[in-house]
Amino acid sequence: MPEKKKLLIVDDEPNIRELYKEVFQSEGYEVVLASTGPEAIKLVKSEEPDLAIMDIRMPGMDGVDAMHEILSQNNRLPVIINSAYTHYKENYMSWAADAYIVKSADMTELKKTVAELLAKPR
């Protein structure tokens, strides 16, 4: 039985965090939650997650900045940008994110992408 993969969910919306926690826990992942950029940076250090799912527009610190900060510490961490904005999608490659998935109630795509990224050898 392999060790449970740990996902870091970064979102300022508590309901989204709660939903993702429920969904991904039921998928068999261990989930840690952050509501701000700085909090996420701390958790990356302390919790050493296997993958981060981040919103990019949050109060205080922009998700993209936070992601860059995180990547400067651990450039192997796969990051999925998960935003309600559809029009940033073209830019995500330049942000060095591994994927950009628009938020949707249908989480099939997100789940699939998480699994794929985690399966990739790092």
Binding site: V23, A84, E90, V102, K103, S104, A105, D106, M107
Partner: protein, 732 residues
């Protein structure tokens, strides 16, 4: 002194000189034959005798017992003669002759009365008075005098006067006839008068007709005919032919009066021609002035120069001064390009059969109908304005018409122009208005080969003057209109720019807002839908699962809308499916029923059943109808009513979905902006609903319309074809 007023005394003859009286009595019968009456008076003035012939003369009835003098009037009733002409007093004893008149008018008679005193020795014995009726003689004298005057008149009149016998052989011939026709009286004596008439059949026929009329009616006056003089000169005359009849009404001859109109006719012709020209010029002028554009006016000018109703040249070329390039440039032309094209009679017929106005208006309607070839020729001609020796430049500079005939000129440039225009003779007239040199009209008679006359030239020049004014006016108007148009354009451009800027600003703002809206909406949607989906995967009762499914589906639909309207990242390509519309409408009604009840609104559903299946994007149409229903509910106050209905329309080719409310209605001014993006009257609306709805319906090849009465309610109708055209095209 004798007094003849004394009454007749029968016994007086006793005292008379018996032998003389006897002699008179003897000649009485002879006297009667000579129409001479004789009266005899004694020296005292008593009538002693009168001849029977007096009776014939109509005076003094000798049978009268009373010795009274009577006059018989035509009816034969004797009446007492109180003023008997024969009772005139003798003034002295001398021989006297007097004239007396009786009656009036046609009954007037003239008598010559001669009183002769007869003496025996020194003693006066008897007066003999001879009365002679001279009426006839006087008439003859009068007639002779009249005839003399007539002859004088005939000899002195300017008209030729001649008489003929009944066979129309000339008998008399006056001085004017000699002068007019050049024949002496002897030369024409007994010659047929018909020799004087022109031999053309028109004239001969007409004279024959005139003769017939004269035989019937006696005379024909002032008939215009052609006669010919001795030298063969044709005379334009008016004749008056009168039949001369004898007492038995038989025609014994004719009199013919001939008035020479040749000179007058010439004057008349030239005058009427002048009037004609002037009228034509005015007509042409009016037509030219009607032209609205430069092209039209140029065309009108040229057609006027060439058309049958106009100046009748066969071709016309228009050269226009181009001030910028300092050239006189060929612009337009009308007519055949060369002798070969002349053969194309169609065009000629076309011009002949139409009025100037018709031709010009027809030509202006079909703009390409210029005479292409000849216009091409003229357009190759560009003469620098400083080439002062060129005939056209000279014409323009000197403002003088220029007539070129190949035989009469050494002018090389003018001959060269003739070659370029394929012509032998041409006329050029300047188009000048005040000091402004506008151009030159060149015209020729290539088709007709009719020589160009001085008249043609002056007429064309007159026309050019008028055309110039029209052209100058138009170019002035053009300039002004052009400036006005420029200004208007500048304004509208500015206006457009302003509008665009405002739109861009608004759209930029709206884009930002829309993005925010999307973000704000998407997060709760994700939460709602995500949880619903998650719960559905758990082991729950079917009833709850069904509800969760509705939640999930609605969320997905909303996400789809957001994606569609506000995002491009993941465009949804909704599928067209063949489906039944009524279940969708039922579902929507169920979905919104609670909302309606909460607002105390009655909701009714009138669906036509059955309806054929329809090909559509289910989600999209659902969204449209929900949007319309929600709007209706929002617009309707408590106690109001919202009706959702479906119906087959357009002969079964389309389905109409109507949403009708009894709400506040929409103002006319708002109605027209209804479909604009971000237009809303609601405090909480995005203003996108109807805009998106319209787009969706358009995608289906359908129509969405709104009718509204403020205060009464609104009705939206969505008309969807059973098979959307867009779809069909894609399939094809």
């Amino acid at each position: 002194m004798l007094d003849f007023t004394k009454t007749f005394s029968p016994n007086a003859d006793k005292h008379l000189h018996v032998s003389l009286l006897d002699h008179l009595k003897e000649v009485d019968s002879i006297l009667t034959e000579f129409n001479v009456g004789v009266l005899a008076f004694d020296p005292d003035g008593n009538m002693v005798w009168r001849s029977n012939s007096l009776k014939i003369l109509g005076y003094c009835d000798p049978d009268d017992e009373q010795g009274q003098c009577y006059r018989r009037d035509p009816e034969g009733e004797p009446s007492l003669c109180m003023d008997c002409p024969f009772h005139t007093r003798f003034e002295d004893d001398k021989y006297q002759r007097t004239c007396i008149h009786t009656g009036t008018g046609a009954a007037k008679r003239h008598f010559e009365v001669t009183s002769v005193p007869l003496y025996e020795g020194e003693e006066l014995k008897i007066w003999v008075r001879l009365v002679q009726d001279v009426t006839e003689r006087r008439r003859r004298i009068q007639q002779a005098q009249n005839e003399e005057i007539t002859q004088m008149l005939i000899d002195n009149t300017a008209d030729a006067v001649m008489t003929t016998d009944d066979m129309l052989l000339i008998q008399s011939w006056n001085q004017s006839a000699r002068e007019m026709f050049g024949y002496s009286a002897d030369e024409v004596q007994k010659k047929p008068i018909t020799n004087l008439f022109s031999l053309d059949s028109d004239t001969q026929d007409k004279f024959a007709r005139i003769q017939n009329v004269v035989r019937e009616e006696g005379a024909v006056r002032n008939e215009r005919l052609l006669m010919v003089s001795k030298e063969g000169r044709r005379l334009n005359v008016a004749i008056t032919l009168t039949a001369i009849r004898n007492s038995r009404e038989e025609i014994t001859g004719y009199s013919l009066i001939v008035r020479d109109f040749s000179l007058v006719a010439g004057l008349e012709d030239s005058l009427s021609e002048k009037i004609d020209h002037l009228t034509k010029l005015d007509g042409i002028n009016a037509v030219v002035r009607m032209a609205k554009s430069k092209e039209e006016i140029y065309d009108a000018v040229l057609v006027a120069v060439t058309a049958g109703e106009g100046l009748r040249f066969s071709r016309a070329f228009l050269f226009i001064v181009n001030k910028g390039q300092k050239v006189l440039a060929g612009n337009t032309a009308v007519g055949p390009a060369n002798a070969a094209e002349v053969l194309d009679g169609r065009k000629k017929q076309y011009y002949r059969s139409r009025s100037l106005q018709e031709i010009i208006s027809e030509r202006s309607q079909q703009k390409g109908a210029r005479d292409v070839l000849v216009t091409q020729i003229v357009r190759q001609l560009r003469i620098p304005l400083d080439q002062k020796d060129h005939p056209l430049i000279r014409c323009l500079e000197n403002r003088e018409p220029f007539l070129f005939s190949r035989r009469e000129t050494e002018d090389v440039l003018a001959a060269q122009l003739a070659n370029q225009l394929w012509t032998e003779q041409y006329v050029a007239v300047p188009l000048v208005w005040h000091d402004e040199k506008l151009g030159v009209i060149v015209a020729d008679n290539l088709t007709t080969r009719r020589p160009i006359t001085e008249d043609d030239v002056s007429f064309l020049a007159g026309f050019a003057e008028r055309a110039s004014s029209a052209m100058a006016n138009l170019s002035l108007k053009d300039d002004l209109e052009g400036k006005v148009v420029d200004l208007q354009e500048a304004w509208s451009q500015l206006d457009d720019q302003k509008k665009k800027m405002a739109d861009q600003k608004r759209l930029a703002g709206l884009g930002e807002m829309a993005a925010k809206v999307a973000h704000e909406i998407r997060n709760p949607l994700v939460t709602i839908g995500g949880f619903a989906k998650m719960l559905m995967e758990r082991d729950i009762d079917p009833e709850t699962k069904k509800s969760l499914n509705i939640i999930s589906e609605e969320v997905m639909r909303l996400e789809g809308i957001l994606e569609n309207v506000l995002g491009t990242a993941r465009p949804i390509q909704p599928e067209f499916v063949n489906t039944k519309i009524n279940p969708i409408l039922h579902r929507i009604a169920t979905l919104l029923k609670n909302q309606a009840i909460q607002n105390d609104i009655e909701m009714a559903v009138h669906l036509q059943d059955p309806l054929p299946t329809i090909i559509l994007q289910k989600d999209q149409i659902e969204q449209v109808v929900i949007n319309l229903m929600k709007n209706a509910i929002d617009a309707t106050g408590p106690g109001g009513r919202v009706v959702l209905a479906s119906k087959l329309k357009d002969n079964g080719k389309a389905i109409a979905i109507t949403v009708k409310d009894t709400g506040v209605g929409i103002d006319q001014e708002h109605l027209q902006h209804l479909w604009d993006p971000f237009f809303t009257t609601k405090s909480e609306g995005t203003g996108l609903g109807l805009h998106i709805s319209k787009q969706i319906i358009n995608d289906h090849g359908g129509k969405i319309t709104a009718t509204s009465k403020p205060g009464k309610g609104t009705c939206f109708e969505v008309l969807l074809p059973l098979k959307p055209k867009v779809k069909e095209e894609e399939d094809a």
